[in-house]
């Protein structure tokens, strides 16, 4: 049975800004132990103050089939990082993530596609990644071609596409294969009016097939519509967890004046 279990999840990024990423600093740090008066000793002291950004600081939740979880929070609250941690892109620094079921990720709008290659070639590569047979890949190709209405552009490099065209292609491709556990970032809800209506139908379809969905968004109306549960993240912690209406009204409530 598909499930998502997250226990005390911690993710922190070492911040290698500027020089601290260079080998000189690193060697300087190890050499400083040998000679305290050398010029590198000074460098090393700087380097020791390595800044670590704690993006997630102990997140817990469990999802069962039928759950549609929305992640809400300001910029830098950790929504995207949490999605990536669920996808196994960032392995936990502390805690544990356990996912049962086939996993589908719609995180990055470029979907890891190569801009130099044509739409068709990118679809085939995606098919190889997912281990699809030739026939299955061809089916996906037809499906995406029909949805994205790219016509002869399918054989042109993606870098020649308008941004609308590349979103249509990415969206069509990402929604062609329905997983059991679906992770989505908010870019999916963007797009122009005509596309939105068309996308909506397709999205409803794939969300309906997925047994668990985790969606990150800034947009409360999207949450109300799609989610059965909302997690409000702030500074890497869960600030509130509950029914969409309860959490959203708290989230949207005017901040008390200081």
């Amino acid at each position: 049975m598909p499930s998502v279990v997250v226990e005390k999840l911690q993710i922190s990024f070492p911040l290698y800004h500027g020089q601290s990423r260079s080998l000189k600093r690193h060697l300087g740090r190890s050499l400083s132990g040998i000679n305290g008066n050398s010029p590198t000793a000074h460098l090393a002291q700087d380097a020791r103050e390595r800044v670590v950004v704690e993006v997630l600081r102990g997140i817990d939740f469990t999802l069962r089939p039928g759950d549609r979880l929305g992640l809400i929070g300001g910029n830098g609250a950790g929504k995207t990082t949490l999605l990536r941690a669920l996808a196994g892109i960032y392995e936990p620094v502390g805690g544990r993530v356990r996912i049962e079921g086939t996993l589908g990720t719609l995180l990055d709008s470029s979907l890891g596609m190569n801009p130099e290659l044509s739409g068709q070639e990118n679809i085939r590569l995606r098919g190889l990644y997912s281990g699809l047979s030739r026939a299955q890949t061809a089916a996906v190709e037809r499906d995406v071609e029909e949805f994205a209405e790219l016509g002869s552009y399918m054989k042109m490099p993606i870098k020649a596409y308008s941004s609308g065209m590349s979103v249509r292609l990415a969206f069509g491709l990402a929604t062609a294969i329905a997983p059991q556990v679906l992770l989505m970032d908010e870019w999916f809800m963007a797009g122009d009016g005509a596309f939105r209506n068309k996308a909506r139908k397709r999205l409803e379809d794939i969300v309906g097939k997925a047994e668990i969905m985790v969606l990150s968004s800034h947009m409360p109306e999207v949450m109300r519509e799609w989610c059965t549960r909302v997690l409000w993240l702030e500074n890497g912690l869960v600030k509130m967890d509950g029914k969409p209406d309860d959490v959203l009204s708290a989230y949207l409530a005017p901040k008390p004046a200081l």
């Binding site: 000189k24 690193h26 941690a85 979907l111």
Partner: protein, 279 residues
């Protein structure tokens, strides 16, 4: 409802220590090998893309190598006072093999940083881009091998002990894999690795008997065994040119391979999970 509920895959992510790291690294390798068709397609597309729109396509590789070998061959045979029929087969083989080594080492330094968008959009085995670099370079090598075959045919050079290729070629692939993985991880963590690799390779191009024959020097020839590139080069080059390889060279090549694999394995177990944090 999906019918594969009984055997749906389970993914578990947690910080690992000790043996857990080894099994995770092993799982990564297996996942990468399973995606070999993808790695192959990516590597082939890399080459195709570079020459998209050009008339000769990937055969530019062959042509530019041919020009290089011809030019260097004439100049150096004069400089080293060697006769062309003996020197040119040696040079063409050396240049092509060295070209493989140096390009793969330079590509390795950016192997992970260049696939950042792939790594950030879905879980990707670290071994996948490594295989892609190897495929790309092996295909380039095959294009260049045409020049070697042509030169050998012109000067009537016949390989000797060609069975040894059955050992030396897999050794090359395994060394490439370990080397790309190792340099790639260091390159993801430290951004000074790419220029360091370039300058180290430049030095070794002259130190290693690539364009000069090892029998040109008498003093200190045994130190050549410590050169990280000479033994591995010689075990392929000498038999193809119709000579034989001394056992000490085989021993050095195999020892170096084990050292390289060992270091790469230790680093990979320790750093695998951090790669996406670095790029």
């Amino acid at each position: 409802m999906a019918d594969n509920l009984s055997h749906s895959p389970v993914l578990e992510f947690a910080p690992q220590r000790g043996i857990g790291r080894v099994t995770a690294a092993w799982a990564d390798l297996r996942a990468g090998l399973k995606l070999f068709p993808l790695a192959f397609a990516l590597g082939w597309l890399d080459i195709k893309m570079r020459y998209r729109g050009s008339m000769l396509g990937p055969f530019w590789l062959t042509l530019s190598t041919a020009v290089m070998v011809a030019a260097l061959g004439v100049i150096y045979s004069k400089l080293f006072h060697m006769d062309l029929p003996r020197y040119l087969p040696f040079l063409s083989l050396s240049i092509v093999l060295w070209g493989f080594i140096s390009t793969i080492a330079i590509d390795a330094a950016t192997v992970f940083t260049q696939s950042a968008s792939q790594f950030h959009s879905m879980r990707t085995p670290a071994s996948l881009p490594v295989l892609r670099v190897i495929v790309r370079n092996v295909l380039t090598l095959l294009h260049n091998a045409v020049v070697i075959v042509a030169v050998f045919a012109i000067f009537h050079v016949w390989p000797h002990q060609s069975w040894s290729l059955l050992v030396s070629l897999p050794l090359w692939i395994a060394d490439s894999f370990a080397g790309v993985l190792l340099i790639g991880m260091l390159g993801a963590r430290f951004r000074d690795i790419p220029p360091i690799i370039v300058s180290v390779l430049q030095v070794f191009f002259f130190v290693t008997p690539v364009i000069w024959k090892p029998d040109l020097i008498y003093l200190g020839r045994q130190y050549l065994l410590l050169d990280p590139f000479y033994p591995i080069l010689e075990i392929v080059r000498a038999p193809l040119l119709g000579g034989s390889v001394r056992p000490s060279i085989w021993f050095a090549a195999i020892t170096q391979a084990f050292v390289l694999w060992g270091i790469a394995a230790v680093f990979f177990c320790r750093m695998r999970a951090r790669i996406t944090y670095w790029i």
